[in-house]
Symmetry: C2
Subunit: 413 residues, 2 copies
Amino acid sequence: MAIIVQKFGGTSVADAQKIRRAAKRVIKAVEDGFAVVVVASARGKQTDQLIADALELNPNPPKREIDQLLSTGEQQTVSLFAMALDAMGYDAISLTGSQIRIMTDSAHTKARIKSIDAKRIHKQLDKGRIVIVAGFQGIDENENITTLGRGGSDTTAVALAAALGAEECEIYTDVDGIYTADPRIFKNAAKMNQISYDEMLEMASFGAGVIYTRAVEFGKKYDIKIHVRSSSEETEGTIITHEVPQMEGVVVSGATVQKDMAKISLVGVDNVPGNAAKIFACLAKAKVVVDDIVQTEISTEKANLSFMIGISDLTAAKEAVEQIKDEVNCQDIFIREDIAEVSVIGVGMRTHYGVAEKMFGALAEAKVNIDSITTSEIRISCAVDKDQAEKALEAICVAFELDKPAQERTKHN
Amino acid sequence: MAIIVQKFGGTSVADAQKIRRAAKRVIKAVEDGFAVVVVASARGKQTDQLIADALELNPNPPKREIDQLLSTGEQQTVSLFAMALDAMGYDAISLTGSQIRIMTDSAHTKARIKSIDAKRIHKQLDKGRIVIVAGFQGIDENENITTLGRGGSDTTAVALAAALGAEECEIYTDVDGIYTADPRIFKNAAKMNQISYDEMLEMASFGAGVIYTRAVEFGKKYDIKIHVRSSSEETEGTIITHEVPQMEGVVVSGATVQKDMAKISLVGVDNVPGNAAKIFACLAKAKVVVDDIVQTEISTEKANLSFMIGISDLTAAKEAVEQIKDEVNCQDIFIREDIAEVSVIGVGMRTHYGVAEKMFGALAEAKVNIDSITTSEIRISCAVDKDQAEKALEAICVAFELDKPAQERTKHN
């Protein structure tokens, strides 16, 4: 019997009515002939409440105890979910991360899955039961409860799908799929039927925020078809999968904008081996996440080095570069806080020319000034004025016809 | 290093302030040189809220899922408790029933402890840590979470004290000890310094309600000193222990009253072997808890049989006896719904005469009519009119000087 994994996030199980609605989606899959494994998150604001309770007692609580506390949120949801299915006449059993031996490392609050005991789930499925698994949690080798960090339930779901050899992993959420661009900014954005893992990774880390990076990485590694779809509507969503032939005709799949960025430039750094390493080691120590590093020689002895960071890391990043400044003989530091980044993403770029040209042309026509440009194999990003970010995204979307479904666009556009 | 187990009930950990207050009691014991193991219940009304959440989804939820759900309440408390101790500068670790392998049978919602892995706790204590254990819960051999039913955290605490070879088990509660009688009825009731396990069992099952029967049974079986004391005041409470020499001078230790009782009498039952067994099998099948069975011959062929039940079981009991009536040739059934039971309890009774006489005399003087009398080795109980229950208790308390500490009473009273 084919297995399907269905993941419901916190908003999809926030109250009794929503749990019942989610349960009906599960029953639909059962009636369609699937063996179903459900992964559920903590209900609505439960996790926030527990964190508030913790901080009231300890402004800096031990991470092991945070995990012990937070894991109860998912445990509550899964037992309630099983009760709901029982009331509807279906045999269900809830299981915690501990009960199915989701073994992780001991990095509390951001643990990584090492193994899952699929036998325990198969045993329950073989009895004809629906299995409801608490997302976001596991245990380390000493039976300490761990949690997987942001998007942990997505990761649990995809990892389970891999361990069980599931047909598909459905991620139920409050949007009905992945769009070519953020519909709040470009209101004509089109829903994608399919997107490749690599494109999704670029979209996700650049602010699409529907599914978490680690879950997509897992999906890519084990080739799990991930279906992002709406928990309130019956429509098909977006399938995240490996590259398929019909994708080839499409050059640009989507566009993203990331506001709340800052750009730091170190001017006139001594161009000797090891200096860049020193600078980024210093930033890593300060836990600053760095993106879009650009280094350019300005003479045989000197180079400029710039990178983008999230605005929330700005204070930490400033301190870090001030600290390292003299050691690398940096002449000056420039900081731009009013910056945003627009990107186009598409696996088709690998083999097609003219994408950059079309993007820069669209921005020029919209009178958007480009501060700097970075590229990867499947992405081109431009740093622009924050004030012009939305206008920039819209111009790009129109240029690449992102208001239309992929098959209706001008060929090789 | 001597080990002490401290148990805090739901009202003693209801909010952050109360958790901190409880944590201070723990620290006091640490500073006094003890290795401390804490057992905590779910916070305040958490369990009630979870049950309400469950019933909203399923009027008759599977018991396994109820246990999976309810066990989160204690898990939350223990992690928060550990965080509070950490904030106060003490190294603490919280552990669930699963993490210390509190193995139980599979009787969900009323499981019984089979074994505890004391090694895991000793290992943490040896590191100088305070160990906070989730009360009320365990796991069965298939890793299903179980709960121990009413008073489960008391049972966990005493069982842990036994498994660890602890010096004492302290039960912190919202009263400051065990009284000779219910102070809400007999306002001059005296606090007892000590009480024997057997006396406490009679007191508890007859309505004293401070500590649960199973915990006292465990204490008796493994000879664990149980100290019932106030979580808000520093005063010494009452020690429940085996009989000690100084108890010998006291004949009656306390008195109880149990209202909300009913008495059922089966008149003229055929006096043949097996009839009593048939009747009580029928009641057991209807899950009616029966007390104070009295059988009296009224002729060579016929007997009367009466027993007491809680008023909440009356409907079920009525149906059960109506069902069995003809089979045992019962001539008539009398039911009294307006009945209460007053009892005096004391290990001293075993070797002293005149207790019954003094009790009946006190009731006669107070003009309380006695419906029936039952006795055990350490208890005498009289069924009386419900309206006269409080007056009856007071008369008995005065007669046995239960307003005074044991050592101040008239000798052999």
